[in-house]
């Protein structure tokens, strides 16, 4: 007996040392190995409580293999980590979630009402479970006491349980409330839990190995023994098999302590990946020997022994006191680790969601009063830990430690599973609303209390026997364990089915019918789209928040040094001198998230709200944010358009520049050309006139010939000068047009003949098109000048063997289009932009012309309100002439 106390105390001392060493290592920055995936996996093992350690065997004795469903559900959840857990952990990290109540309250617009409701649900669901731990440790202690004192000495269970409760509360307060920011992990606690996980696994495996190989003589005899025992046949009800698997899976996610180790204490998302197979392996090992131990216990121990204690009593009955001691330690560690984490999780919820809001409202607008709030929060946590453990103790006293362990565990599971629809809906469905969540949770909680929790306290304790069997006011369909007249169902399944059905239905239906507040919609988008990270979180509008007030408040929660460091960092990021950053919405978000790590989302939001002034987000703010986004988008599209415009302008400039360069080259060429053109006839005129002047004896024929040459040269000069003059007149816009009427075909015919094209010449001209009959009202002479020019160009420059010229004419909307298409080689692309310029000539030599023809054409067409352009892609040189069929009178007056 004394030995047992000594061993327990020694074990607790070891845990203390481990926890201290881990804390010390973490503080010294040597805690890297503390954050390995294996430690994370082991910390998840608080799922296996004393209920699992002792109760699973009892469960197996009562229902055979059915006990395994309690492990199958969590295994499936872990295998399916990619679906849910990954998202939960990511949300927990980005939103600095401190508990499951915090998660759901933060998702639904930081609603404190939801947080309070969930906290109450969690306390109601967890207290019996903690009581269960106290009970199992006390029972195991009693078993030892009886064994060591020959079955005579009965220990005082009340006192034992009280001592255990006090000890656990002490340990939890010491390690669980050292730091305020829950997101900084409790390294000491996590390490202690990991050690305990190993201890309980080793203990259970040791008992199992002893039972299989020490007592039964191997695996095959063991299997035979199992089949021969009273639980040897498969008698599991399908409903319970599926229902309990679902229940344990739901509870695994929703249990406050599981959420705490899985999400809140999670250091690295990648740890989940290892845990996804390692934790099922742990569970598998934990359940591997349950059935053999149960069967052996049934075999060896007298009828009526408590099957919940087989793990202890089987080794004891074989005189294996050392093994029994190890097994006791295993059960002890299962109980302690569960109680520690559960109370930490619950106390966080209670202090963040119940104590702090009350304290805030009592102190009124006192958030910005200086003084350290951290002590208030920590004190609230410490007191809640004590209160929760004591509550569990009283529950244990009240229930008298009578009911079977497993049943109590399942009752608890159904209670916490009520959070499942809201949680899953919250992270996957943006349409879920706060009112819907409240309705779902409320109905689920009510059904659980009425149909399972109160009846489980024992007949006649709260609900009378008549009410249980006949329903309230004689309404049989409202009987707690036979709702809607469906009798004979297993109570757990019965409650699970109805509560889940009504819970989810109310949640979904009310969500569908209500409209979420702006804050809920913001948060909903944040949670559901947590992997996109695209939209910035904009919870606060730039308002009256004063940095100094914020500073005072943050110092009280984060501590002066941390708060100043945070403010300074933000100030530097904003580029502000000094330590006080601008109270920008971004800064308020950062601050709120940091604070919510300490006091929970709803409280942090309320505290900043007090300073920043009222509700943080209104529809107007949302609209403003949307406007801002729209403006930014508009601005960026404007920028884009501008840059496109710039590119285009640059392109145009480049073209112009190219053209200018070419023009300058052409101009130089023209000056020498024109000098040459003028000079050549002048030279011959001078030479021949000198001959005529100086030679007296000259034949009349020679005289006539020389005079002819001089005459033709002057004609050429005159033509050149005429052209230049013509162009100058046209360019200056001083030309007067002589309007007359003539049909287009006539104009073309005369142009063709004027260009010297006859049936003998080498150019074959064909005409096509519907527009040739049209009667034109324009300056017909000028127009035919253009035609002549184009046709004679074709004649001069067409390089084909049998040159042909196709003239197509058609009319459209009062504008006539005439195309001149030859079958020559056309004009090279680089020349097309300059052929209409003065002085330009295609090719260097070729027949005459000063390169003014097309320039004159262009000017004429311009005067005629038309245009002439080169038409590419016709298989040869092609020009298009377009002009109005009837030139308006006004036009000529311009």
């Amino acid at each position: 007996m004394n030995l047992l106390i000594f061993v327990s105390l020694g074990y607790v001392m070891v845990l203390f040392i481990v926890a201290f060493a881990a804390e010390r290592a973490a503080q010294a920055g040597r805690g890297k190995w503390l954050r390995s995936p294996m430690i994370y996996t082991l910390s998840l093992s608080i799922y296996c409580t004393a209920w699992t350690f002792y109760g699973a065997v009892g469960f197996a004795v009562r229902s055979g293999l059915e006990f395994v469903t309690i492990y199958l559900g969590p295994s499936l959840v872990m295998f399916g980590w990619w679906w849910t857990l990954r998202k939960l952990v990511r949300i927990g990290r980005t939103q600095r979630i401190t508990s499951i109540a915090d998660l759901i309250s933060a998702r639904f617009g930081k609603s404190n009402l939801l947080a309070v409701g969930l906290t109450l649900l969690a306390v109601a669901g967890t207290t019996p479970y903690i009581a269960l731990q106290l009970q199992s440790v006390t029972q195991s202690y009693a078993v030892f006491a009886r064994a060591s004192q020959g079955g005579t000495g009965e220990i005082n269970q009340t006192v034992t349980a009280l001592w255990i409760a006090v000890g656990l509360a002490f340990f939890t307060i010491l390690f669980g409330t050292r730091k305020l920011d829950v997101n900084e992990r409790h390294d000491g606690v996590v390490m202690a839990i990991a050690v305990e996980a190993v201890v309980k696994l080793v203990a259970l495996l040791a008992v199992g190995v002893f039972v299989v190989w020490g007592i039964s003589g191997g695996i095959a005899p063991m299997l035979e023994k199992i089949d021969a025992s009273e639980i040897g046949a498969w008698e599991v009800s399908g409903g319970r098999w599926a229902g309990l698997t679902f229940l344990s899976a739901a509870a695994f996610i929703c249990l406050p302590r599981m959420f705490h180790v899985m999400v809140v204490e999670s250091d690295d998302e990648r740890h989940l990946r290892t845990a996804s197979w390692a934790f099922p392996a742990y569970l598998m090992l934990m359940s591997l020997f349950v059935l053999p131990i149960a069967v052996t216990g049934l075999d060896l121990l007298p009828k009526g022994s408590n099957p919940d204690m087989f793990v202890l009593t089987v080794p004891l009955s074989q005189g294996q006191n050392g093994l029994a001691m190890l097994s006791f330690l295993g059960g002890f560690s299962s109980a302690t680790s569960m109680v520690i984490v559960a109370t930490i999780a619950l106390s966080t919820m209670v202090s963040n969601h119940i104590v702090m809001p009350i304290w805030l409202s009592i102190t009124g607008g006192g958030v910005s009063v200086s003084g350290d709030v951290r002590y208030v929060v920590l004190l609230a946590r410490r007191l809640s830990i004590g209160a929760i453990v004591m509550l569990a103790y009283f529950y244990f006293q009240l229930s008298g430690g009578g009911s079977a362990l497993a049943a109590m565990g399942l009752v608890s599971f159904v209670g916490v599973a009520q959070a499942l629809p809201v949680m899953i809906g919250g992270i996957f469905w943006r349409g879920a609303t706060r009112i819907g969540a409240l309705c779902g949770l409320g109905i689920g909680f009510a059904i659980w209390t009425y149909a399972l929790f109160l009846p489980s306290l024992g007949n006649g304790l709260v609900l009378s026997d008549t009410l249980l069997s006949n329903g309230p006011w004689g309404l049989a369909w409202l009987a707690p364990q036979a709702l809607f007249g469906i009798k004979g169902l297993d109570p757990i399944l019965h409650c699970l089915f109805w509560s889940m059905l009504f819970n989810s239905a109310a949640f979904v239906l009310v969500s569908l019918c209500t409209f979420p507040a702006p804050m809920e919609r913001l948060q909903g988008a944040q949670f559901v789209n947590v992997f996109q990270q695209a939209q910035p979180r904009r919870g606060w509008s730039r308002g009256a928040a004063q940095s100094e007030d914020l500073m005072i408040m943050s110092q009280r929660i984060l501590g002066a040094r941390d708060a100043q460091a945070l403010f300074e960092k933000e100030a530097r990021r904003q580029g502000v001198q000094g330590i006080l950053p601008d109270p920008s919405p971004e800064f308020l978000d950062v601050l709120e998230r940091k604070l919510s790590g300490s006091v929970g989302a709803a409280t942090a939001h309320a505290m900043i709200g007090q300073i920043a002034g009222g509700a943080s987000v209104s529809v107007d703010d949302l609209l403003a944010v949307a406007d801002e986004t729209a403006q930014i988008m508009e601005y960026s599209s404007k920028l884009e358009a501008q840059s496109f415009e710039l590119t285009r302008t640059a392109e145009q400039l480049r073209h112009v520049n190219e053209k200018l360069t070419q023009l300058s080259v052409q101009k130089d060429g023209f000056i020498s050309q024109i000098s040459h053109e003028l000079r050549t006839p002048m030279t011959s005129i001078r030479a021949f006139s000198e001959i005529l002047r100086d030679s007296d004896d000259m034949a009349a024929t020679d005289k006539a010939r020389y005079a002819g040459i001089i005459h033709s040269e002057t004609l050429r000069l005159t033509r050149l000068l005429d052209d230049l003059l013509d162009l100058a007149v046209l360019e200056a816009g001083r030309v007067s047009l002589n309007l007359s009427q003539k049909s287009l075909s006539e104009v073309i015919e005369s142009a063709v003949s004027s260009a010297g094209i006859t049936s003998d010449t080498d150019l074959v001209v064909t005409q096509k098109g519907s527009g040739r009959d049209i009667v034109l009202t324009t300056d017909v002479d000028r127009l035919s000048q253009v035609f002549i020019n184009v046709i004679s160009n074709a004649r001069k420059y067409c390089t084909a063997d049998i040159p042909t010229l196709l003239i197509k004419a058609f009319e459209e909307n009062g504008r006539v289009t005439v195309d001149f298409i030859d079958n020559g080689s056309g004009i090279a692309a680089d020349m097309r932009s300059v052929i209409f310029e003065k002085f330009s000539r295609v090719g260097e030599t070729q027949a005459g012309g000063a390169g003014l023809g097309l320039a004159i054409c262009r000017e004429i067409m311009h005067r005629l309100d038309g245009e002439i352009s080169y038409l590419p892609g016709q298989g040869g040189g092609a020009f298009r002439v377009r002009f109005p069929a009837e030139l308006e009178k006004i036009q000529q007056d311009v």
């Binding site: 293999l65 199992i226 990946r273 996804s276 943006r430 947590v530 992997f531």
Partner: protein, 105 residues
Amino acid sequence: MSEHDPVFDAPNSSGRLFLERRGYRQRRIIDAARILPIVGLLLWLVPLIWPDVGEDGAISTSQATLYVFAIWIALIGVGGFLAWRMSPSEDVSGDETEQSQGAER
């Protein structure tokens, strides 16, 4: 799954192709990780159709135990393999799979 196929979205440079092929493999590993719990659930629900005691072909507890634990071990093995093959940066590929749920409905 609804995500687009990275192999066909990849530009045609040979260096990229290698990387994208790895990305493709990663996607399929993630698909497998998604399916794993469903397979496990289905296999573990098989006991629902086992005959009751006294009927022909009734299952003994030892057989049931072997069945349940064999599945368990197989799932752990596959899960471990998938976790081992998953690249450390798997979150990049997980992003757009979430987008189908992103729209407000």
